[in-house]
Symmetry: C2
Subunit: 151 residues, 2 copies
DNA sequence: CTAGATCCTCCAGTGACTGGAGGATCAAGA
DNA sequence: TCTTGATCCTCCAGTCACTGGAGGATCTAG
């Protein structure tokens, strides 16, 4: 084989912060901010002090982005990441945490489904050019959709 | 009939801001903040300048709270409320808006369901005291769970 | 060897609340 | 009626999670 071909899998060349931002949809200052609050580990630097990233960073950052979009706060994400980083280790304490998050997730799904049904009804009404009253508010205002009752 | 009895339905006595806060789980400063940014209409005042509310306020505020918890931003809630306030009127323009929100809601449901399944798997693993690897990150990191592709 | 893109740090600004200071008002009991 | 504790008012400063600009270094393509 001639000179050009290297090993079968291309060695995973490190990403710049800009490339990471592009691949994840997270803005550069936000990436640095996540590092500063410890959601992302401190990125290794090049000789000229630039941060470098790899595929793991992409997955971790995408996870953070999705979780934030879904309304989880940073502290919850930090806990979720810690559980993922440390699979099954202090299972006893992580269990309660996971169950709490699970209940919260299920509550969100239920409320989103109620909202979805109502918005869908609105869209269908519009499609038929019918003027029918809108119950979006009632749907989300209804306390029955809450799984927890601490309010 | 004696003197005490009034009309069949008790006249809906107005709520104080504190009572509204209790019924909705929204803190008093937050209620005032929502009024200041126009999410809630300016509350009528008593002679001594205190805000008064009714059942409509309770429903509207509960809606806002749930929508915020579900991660919708204030601007989206403002639009949703405007549609609800003005049922079927400028149907043509509201339609696109509603469809956009619908797609967003469905995307959230899909991602939350994926997350739920994974967290559930973790919890079950814990319950059996099994040490199995955790894929929460992979689940939410997976770009396939996104319905939009602008990133 | 430049010129433009990209990176660095630091710091100030934004959106959506959250809470304290200082003062007025209300409602219930002595 | 008078007080006293709860609740309300406005204003303003602080927090969380970003977001963006200033000023300067480094990289990369022509």
């Amino acid at each position: 084989m001639p000179t050009m071909s290297s090993l079968p899998a291309t060695p995973p060349s490190p990403l710049t912060i800009g490339a990471l931002a592009k691949q994840t949809g997270v803005k550069i200052p936000t990436i640095r901010y996540y590092e500063s609050i410890g959601l992302l580990p401190e990125a290794p630097r090049t000789d000229s002090n630039r941060r470098t990233y790899d595929g793991g960073s992409v997955r971790r950052l995408r996870f953070i982005r999705h979780a934030r979009e879904l309304g989880f706060e940073v502290e919850a994400i930090r806990q979720l990441l810690a559980m993922a980083d440390d699979p099954g280790q202090p299972c006893r304490e992580a269990d309660l945490l996971a169950r709490t998050h699970l209940a919260e997730i299920e509550s969100r799904i239920a409320r989103l489904e109620a909202l979805r049904d109502e918005v869908r009804r609105m869209v269908e009404g519009c499609a038929q050019d019918q003027v029918r009253s809108c119950h979006v508010i009632e749907v989300l205002a209804d306390h029955a959709h809450c799984l927890h009752d601490r309010h």
